[in-house]
Structure formats: C-alpha cells, structure tokens
C-alpha cells in the first residue's frame, strides 16, 4: 500500500470553492464496481477530471438499507468481484488524491475491521472523511472520538424529518461537511426534487453554522445540481446517476463529459445562463 502524504482537508476544499463562488460537486462510486482494479481506475479518472471536488467512495456492505436498487446492484457486483475492506484501503492509498476522498459505508464494516483500526487506516490511506449510513448520532460516540484522534472528519447525516432540536444536537460538532438527505426515501435518481428542499437546506445551513452542507439522494443531473446550489447548498452529491453509467459500461470519456456538465452546474455563471 502506498503511504499517502497528509490528506486534503474537506474544509479547505470547501473554502476554496466558496471563494470562487462555486458549489462542490461530490461524486460517488462504489468501490469494487465492476471490479476492484476497474474502480481504482474510475476513481482516478474522476479525480483527474478537474470536475469532481470531493470523491465519495462506497465501501460495500451486503445489506445496505439506505440504498436504492442502483447502488444495491453495484454493491452486489463489487462483492462478487471480491471487494473487501482491505482492498478499499489499498485503493484509497493508491489514488493520487488531488481532491479530498471520503468513505461511505455501514457500521458493521467499521465494527468488524475494528473502530480504531478503521480510522487509523483512513488516516494512513489519506481518506479525509467518513459517512456511516446506519449509525445515528446516539450510537456514534465511539466512532466520532476515534475519527477525531485520526483527524478524519466524521460527516453527519440529517434528513427532512430530523427535528430542529435534534438537528442542532447532531450538528453541534459538524466537521468536513454535513450530508443533507434531500428526500424521505433511499438513494436513487428522481425526476424532481422535493418542494420543501429549499426550506430544509436553510434549516441545515443554520444548524451547521460554519460547516458546509451538501445535498444528496435523488440528484440525477446538472439541473438538480444547479437547483440545490441555487438554493444555498455548498455542494451536491451525485451517486446513482454515475453508478448507472458504470453499470452500463459507459466509456471514461462519456462519464467525464457527464461529470463536466454536473460541475458546470455548480458554477454561478451556468446558473445564470440556465435561467435565461
């Protein structure tokens, strides 16, 4: 495994984008999909594209209850191809991380690896942040402490039904960015975004104070990216739409062309152009 240099901080990346008046494009892929080697190549391609500001890598778990069919199928492909947590750290370590890389996984994966071993491996492999889809605030104390020790941002998730008091409690120690789930449901592409999303983003921003907020779930294309950035989010997370392209064996050029359109939508000028 390559020993990576000190990893890029999420806060610095968001600051840089803010100073340019841009939102962050956060692209998700499932590690090991369709194979570990190919996912390493895809991850590096996305980083090198210049369009992706944060790369979110899914570390597969066999029973992903927060994910819709597209990512479930990607996880199945990855596990069939022999993906595992050791390989996930090998891949993260081998990447030339010009942008911050974060992991998304489920708690049993962290638990079986060992909480401290997992966060130390994140640091060693240069993984900047960690999202654990099925670990609510109340159960996360030990992992949050381990993340702090390793200088890995523990990324909190809040949802439209997270009440105001609970949101303040959760986001009191927000770091890296805050993951706002756009809608009640699972990951996957959607035609339209929720009507109340603007209000939710406003609530999230307020509770997150200085921490950036990024919106995920159902962000299918440039229109949605432009919409959420226009509503005041600091970033947009696109997962299933990219995983769909990988599933279909889409060429690297076409994937790059797609993420380029996503990135353009995070820039204020494109928002202005879109409106005219």
């Amino acid at each position: 495994m390559m020993i990576s240099k000190g990893h890029l901080r999420l806060s610095e990346q968001f600051d840089r984008l803010r100073s340019r008046g841009e939102g962050a494009l956060i692209a998700y892929i499932t590690l090991g999909d369709p194979t570990p080697a190919e996912s390493l190549a895809i991850a590096q391609t996305l980083i090198d594209s210049g369009s992706v500001d944060v790369l979110e890598l899914g570390v597969p778990f066999s029973d992903p209850i927060a994910d819709g069919p597209v990512i479930q199928a990607a996880v199945d492909r990855a596990l069939k191809a022999g993906m595992n947590t050791d390989l996930a750290f090998d891949i993260a370590g081998a990447l030339d991380k010009k942008v911050p890389v974060v992991y998304l996984t489920y708690y049993n994966i962290v638990l079986q690896y060992g909480i401290e071993r997992f966060t130390e491996s994140c640091r060693a492999a240069g993984v900047s942040g960690l999202i654990v889809a099925d670990l609510p605030f109340e159960e996360s104390l030990e992992l949050r402490a381990a993340c702090k020790l390793c200088d890995v941002d523990y990324i909190h998730v809040v949802t439209p039904n997270t009440g105001p008091e609970r949101m303040r409690k959760i986001l009191a120690d927000a770091s890296g960015f805050v993951y706002l789930v756009s809608t009640m449901g699972v990951t996957g592409k959607r035609k339209t975004l929720s009507d109340s999303l603007g209000e939710f983003i406003r609530r999230g921003r307020e509770a997150a104070r200085q921490a950036p907020v990024a919106v995920g779930f159902g962000i299918s294309g440039p229109d949605h990216v432009g919409e959420v950035v226009g509503m005041g989010a600091d970033g947009a997370i696109v997962g299933s739409a990219i995983v769909d392209l990988i599933r279909d064996g889409t060429s690297a050029e076409e994937i790059l062309a797609f993420v380029k359109t996503l990135k353009q939508a995070t820039r204020p000028i494109s928002a202005a152009v879109n409106k005219t």
């Binding site: 066999s62 209850i65 199928a73 049993n108 609510p136 949802t159 039904n161 449901g185």
Partner: protein
C-alpha cells in the same frame, strides 16, 4: 423509559431517517403499554379473536416413549396457526391508537405476513407485505392467503431474495410513508423498541405456560425449550420463567446441513458479534462483516442474526443455546405426528428434536416445549424431503 440495550446488545443502528420514526413508536408504546384501556382491548382480542389461552398439552405417548414428561405449549392452536398473531394484534392495536391506518411487514415463510394481514383486516387497516421472491415461490399458499385477506404482497427481488432482503426493503419503504404507516416488525429483533415491544406482546405465552404447569403439575418444569429464529416465541415463553432460576431454558437454532457444512442459521455456533438491521448481536458474517447466506429447512429460522436479549441471556448463563439439523427437525416433525397425532411447524420441530435428542438426560423430568406453530404450511416441504409427490 424502556431499556434499549440488553447488556452490550441491541441498540438502534439505523439511518437517521428512521430514528424519529422509531422514537415515535417507542413513545406510543411507552404511552399505551400500561394503559388499562389498551391492555383490556388487547386481552379481549387475544381471548375472543386469537383463542387464548392456548392449552398446555401433556404429550402422553411421547412421554411414555421417551421417559420424560413432555408438555407442549400449543401456540399451534392460536388463530392463523402460530404465535405470530400475539404480536401482530398487539402492534396493530397500538398503531391504530397512534393514528396509523396502514401496516407493512416483512415475512419469510409467510406466517408473520398472514398474521399481519389478519390483524389489519380485523382492525380495518390497509396492509402491505414484503416477501423475498424465493420465499414467494416456496410458500405460494401463504402468499395467496395474504391476498385473500386483502393484503398487497410485494416481491423483493434484490440480494438473496429471502427474509433478510424483505426486512431491508420494508425498512426502505417505511421511510417513504411514515405519516400513516406502522412497520409491524415480526420478531424480537431489530432496532429499539422492537425487541422489547415484541417480547412484551409474546410474554403472554410464558405467563400462561407458568400458570398452567403449576396448575396441572403442581410444580415448575425442569426445562423449557423453544426454537430460536429471531427469537420471539422463545423470549415469549422464557419470559415467564426467567426469575425461576432452577428452570433450565434452552433455545434451539437451525443447524441446517450441519455446522461444519456452513449451511445453517446457528448464530451461536458459527456467528460473531455484529450489526444487522438495527441491532448489535450475534450474526453470521465473514471477517469483513458481510452477512452470510443462511440455510434452514424451516424458513422461519433462516435468518443471519438472533434477538439481542438471547445474546445477553447466553452471556449471563441464564439460557443455553443448542441447535438441531434439518434432518433432526424433519425426523421430529414425523415423530410427533406418528406418536402423538400433532404435526408441528418445522420451526417448532427443532425444539422437539432437541428434547428427543436429549431424552436420556431429561429422564424422569418435566419439560415444556413451545410448539410455536402448526405444520400444515410445511407438508409440501416434508413431502419433498420424503421423496413423495403430492
């Protein structure tokens, strides 16, 4: 407050979206669980609709043949044919009081699905059941029963297309309809408050059994045996005897094709501590935490994790956990039929099998086996194993 942990086990390992929903369920349960009106309504349904109390039958022929006094707690005589209805009526009544109009549930063999559909109909609620495509194929009769009761049955086509995936899909669906829908979880498993609440609604088995054995035998039994899938029938009957330290409590898991074969669902034999579907407990998994495929001839025991309270009872030595293989369970199924005239569910057959296997040790003692369900649903499976075409 109801405890969310059993020692180190249990907890609430779910996506944030489910947390407020589970808090609502916990609050509703907290509000009504000791409410005299709620309890009276539940008792009335259990008596008039479910047909409780179920008998505690002295199994005369088996006792003579095997040399110990075998009593059977007859949950097979509860309406719809298994103990599942105790919990579905309880949760459905609670959901109704909480203003919900629709029930969703997972099911493996279909017993919990049928019991949920029944409760929904009885209380005038809508019902959707999630069931793996493989299980739908295996349990066509129960699928049709659910449809006859007006339930929508959704085929779950992802993962292993069995119970595990049906639970995942029910959880995924629940978050999209929290306002009007209660997720009626079927066993003493999952995120808090389900393990505590399901135990509560199943504890009627243990209360009855304890009173009945004292009345019929004048003494407590030496041993209480139950099969353990998620563990709701077991925790239900154990709960009546937990404080009677002299009563030996035995849970019997599914040994499938044998522990060494790897094709089984005996979490306490091949499992380790981990998290699945909201709970920290013993789980069958690989070293990276990927959940293993399980196997049992009985769909109701075919699940990779065990109820968190069982993990604690095992740790503190209050209960012990063994297993019976598919072959042993099939043998017990036929034996109880031929000797006593009772066809038990293949799940319950595992508990019967343990008692038969340990007859020598049990000699002269009084034993209660929880006959959690009846075997009608399993006759096709048994025929297949016997090489008989029906």
């Amino acid at each position: 407050m109801i405890e969310s942990r059993y020692g180190e086990y249990g907890g609430t390992y779910v996506p944030e979206m489910l947390v407020p929903a589970l808090q609502d369920v916990a609050a509703g349960y907290e509000k009504y669980r000791n409410d005299p009106g709620f309890r009276a309504e539940l008792d009335d349904y259990l008596k008039q609709f479910v047909g409780r109390p179920t008998p505690l039958t002295l199994s005369r022929n088996m006792s003579r043949k095997y040399g110990f006094k075998l009593y059977l707690k007859r949950e097979d005589q509860a309406f719809t044919g298994a103990h599942k209805i105790n919990n579905t009526i309880g949760q459905a009544l609670l959901a109704k009081r909480m203003g919900k109009t629709r029930l969703i549930a997972e099911t493996g063999a279909g017993q919990h699905g049928v019991a949920t559909a029944t409760a929904a109909r009885a209380l005038g609620m809508d019902c959707t059941i999630f069931m793996g495509e493989v299980d739908i194929e295996r349990q066509k009769m129960n699928v049709f029963r659910m449809r006859l009761l007006g339930a929508e049955v959704v085929a779950v086509k992802n993962g292993t297309r069995t119970l595990k995936d049906a639970i995942s899909e029910a959880m995924r669906s629940w978050v999209t309809c929290l306002d009007d829908t209660h997720y009626l979880f079927g066993t003493a498993y999952g995120p808090h408050p389900f393990p505590a609440m399901v135990k509560d609604f199943q504890s009627v088995i243990g209360r009855e059994a304890r009173a009945q054995i004292l009345e019929q035998e004048g003494d407590l039994p030496a041993c209480v045996v139950a099969c353990v899938g998620g563990g709701s029938n077991a925790i239900g009957i154990f709960s009546g005897f937990l404080k009677d330290e002299a009563v030996r409590l035995v849970g019997v898991e599914a040994g499938g094709c044998g522990i060494d074969s790897g094709k089984h669902a005996a979490r306490f034999q091949g499992g380790s501590k981990g998290v699945l579907h909201g709970s920290y407990t013993y789980v069958l998994q690989d070293k990276y935490g990927q959940i293993s495929d399980t196997h049992s001839v009985s769909a109701g025991l075919d699940y990779a994790a065990v109820g968190p309270e069982h993990s604690m009872l095992r740790d503190i030595g209050r209960a012990e956990y063994s297993y019976a293989t598919d072959d042993e369970a099939l043998h017990a199924f036929r034996e109880l039929g031929m000797v006593e005239g009772i066809l038990p569910a293949l799940e319950s057959s595992h508990a019967v099998a343990w008692a038969i296997k340990n007859a020598e040790e049990l000699k002269g003692k009084t034993v209660i086996v929880n006959l959690s369900g009846r075997g009608d649903k399993d006759v096709y499976t048994v025929a297949k194993h016997m090489g008989v075409d029906i």
